[in-house]
Amino acid sequence: MSTNLERVRKVLAGHCELPPQGIDAQTSLVALDLDSLTMMEIGFGLEREFRTSVDDDALSDVTTVGDLVRIVESCLSPG
C-alpha cells in the first residue's frame, strides 16, 4: 500500500514537473515553481486522492512536500 508521501507525490506529478532526482518530504514547493492556481489544483487533487476536504488557508502556509503530507494527515485524523 502506498504511503501518504507517495500519494502526495503522485498528485504533485499530475500538476507540475518533478525534478529528475525525485522529491522527498524536505523538497521545497518553491523549487517546484508552483503558482497560486496550481496550488489550488493540487488542493483539489489531494481532496480527490484522499477523499477528504483540504482547507485553502492551510495550503497557503505550506513550504515543503512534508507540509502537504501533514495537512492531509490532519484532515484524515478523526480528532
Binding site: 503558482d35 497560486s36 492556481l37 489550488m40 489544483e41 488542493g43 483539489f44 480527490r48 485553502d56
Partner: protein, 338 residues
C-alpha cells in the same frame, strides 16, 4: 405536460480581435503567462459606441434563423452589462428584432445568467405564458474592466449567444426537464463592480471611476467555481435520473480552462468530454455557454443525440446547471469562431 424544447442556436462576436500579445504589451505580461494561467489566447472586444444590445440583436437574429422562426412570444436577456441602468435592455432588443409587444426583461445572474435565463424561459413555456422564447446571453465586460489590471483584464471578452425555446413534450430531444440553480450572497464581494448602483448613489457620492471597474478575488472564485459547478452538475443529473457517466459533453461556463478541467476531474469525467472555445473568446460571461455550444456544434463536438450538461458559475455568487439530449439544430452559415 408541456416542456420547453431547444430549437435554435446562434452567436455573435464583435469583429475586433485583441490578442494576448496586444493586451500583454500594455500590461507587461506575456502570451505564455496568460495562456498558462487561463487557456485564453485572444478575445473579441466591442468598438467604441457598440453596446450589449447590439451584440444581443445579432445573436438573437441568428438563433431565430436557426430555429426557422421570425419571432417569439418572449425575450429573456441575461446580462450584467445592460445598455443603461434603466430601462432593462431586453425590450429594446425585442423591438429591434421586430418583436414589439413581446414579454421582454433582463436577468442578471452575471456569468450564470444564461442558465438562469434558460430556466426562466423554460418556466414561461411550462407556465403557459409563452409558446416560444428567445433566450439571449450577452455581455460587454470590456466596459467594466480596468485597462491597467493585469489579472482581470486578460480574462474577459465581449460577445452574445442565443437559443430559441418552443413548447413541446418532455420526451423530445432538446427538452429542458431539469435545472439546478443556487446562490450565496454572503460572498457578493468576490466579483463586484462596487460603484454606480444604489449602494453608492444613496450616499450622495459621485461615481468613483476606480469603483466602476470590476474586481475579483481569484483564489476564492476559483475554488467556489469548481466546487459549485461540480456539485450543481451532480444535483441536476440526479434530478434528471442520469448517471454522470452518461454525460457525453460538458459545456461549462468558459471562465478559465483550468476551472473546467478541475470540474471534469471532480466529476471523474475525462477531459475530452469538455467543450471549450475559451482560447478564442475568453470569458464572455452570460454569452459563454451558447457561444461554446455554437462552436461545439459547428466543429462536431456537440452532436444530435448526445447527452449535454450545461453548468455555470458567476458573481453573486450564483450557479446553475441543466442537462438535455441534444436535438437536431441547424446552424447558420459561418457560425463558428474563427
Amino acid at each position: 405536460m408541456t416542456a420547453a424544447v431547444l430549437s435554435g442556436l446562434g452567436g455573435w462576436l464583435p469583429p475586433r480581435v485583441v490578442t494576448n500579445e496586444e493586451v500583454g504589451r500594455e500590461l507587461g505580461v506575456t502570451d505564455e503567462w496568460i495562456r498558462r494561467r487561463t487557456g485564453i489566447g485572444r478575445r473579441h472586444v466591442c468598438d467604441p459606441g457598440t453596446s450589449t444590445s447590439d451584440l444581443a440583436v445579432r445573436a438573437g437574429a441568428r438563433a431565430l434563423s436557426s430555429a426557422g422562426v421570425e419571432a417569439t412570444d418572449a425575450v429573456v436577456l441575461a446580462t450584467a452589462t445592460p445598455d443603461h441602468q434603466i430601462p432593462g435592455t431586453a425590450p429594446a432588443v425585442a423591438a429591434r428584432l421586430g418583436m414589439t409587444g413581446a414579454i421582454a426583461f433582463d436577468v442578471n445572474a452575471v456569468c450564470t445568467g444564461f442558465v438562469y435565463a434558460l430556466a426562466t424561459g423554460t418556466a414561461l413555456v411550462r407556465g403557459g405564458l409563452a409558446e416560444s422564447v428567445l433566450v439571449i446571453g450577452a455581455d460587454t465586460f470590456s466596459t467594466v474592466l480596468d485597462p491597467a489590471d493585469p489579472v482581470v483584464r486578460p480574462l474577459f471578452g465581449d460577445g452574445a449567444g442565443a437559443v430559441v425555446l418552443r413548447a413541446g413534450t418532455p420526451e423530445e430531444p432538446g427538452a429542458l426537464n431539469a435545472f439546478d440553480l443556487g446562490s450565496d450572497g454572503r460572498h457578493e464581494d468576490f466579483i463586484i463592480v462596487p460603484s454606480g448602483g444604489s449602494r453608492q448613489r444613496s450616499g450622495g457620492r459621485p461615481t468613483d471611476p476606480v469603483g466602476s471597474y470590476m474586481t475579483m478575488r481569484g483564489r476564492e472564485v476559483f475554488r467556489a467555481a469548481v466546487s459549485r459547478m461540480a456539485e450543481s452538475s451532480r444535483t441536476v443529473l440526479a434530478e434528471a435520473g442520469r448517471d454522470v457517466t452518461s454525460v457525453d459533453r460538458v459545456v461549462g461556463h468558459q471562465a478559465n480552462i483550468r476551472i473546467l478541467r478541475a470540474v471534469a476531474d471532480r466529476l471523474e469525467l475525462p477531459e475530452d468530454r469538455l467543450i471549450s472555445n475559451i482560447d478564442r473568446v475568453g470569458n464572455t460571461s452570460a454569452a459563454s455557454i451558447p457561444l461554446a455550444l455554437a462552436d461545439g456544434l459547428a466543429e462536431g463536438g456537440v452532436k444530435e443525440g448526445a447527452t449535454v450538461l450545461l453548468t455555470a458559475f458567476g458573481a453573486g455568487l450564483t450557479w446553475g446547471s441543466t442537462v438535455l439530449e441534444w436535438p437536431e439544430i441547424l446552424l447558420n452559415e459561418g457560425e463558428m469562431t474563427p
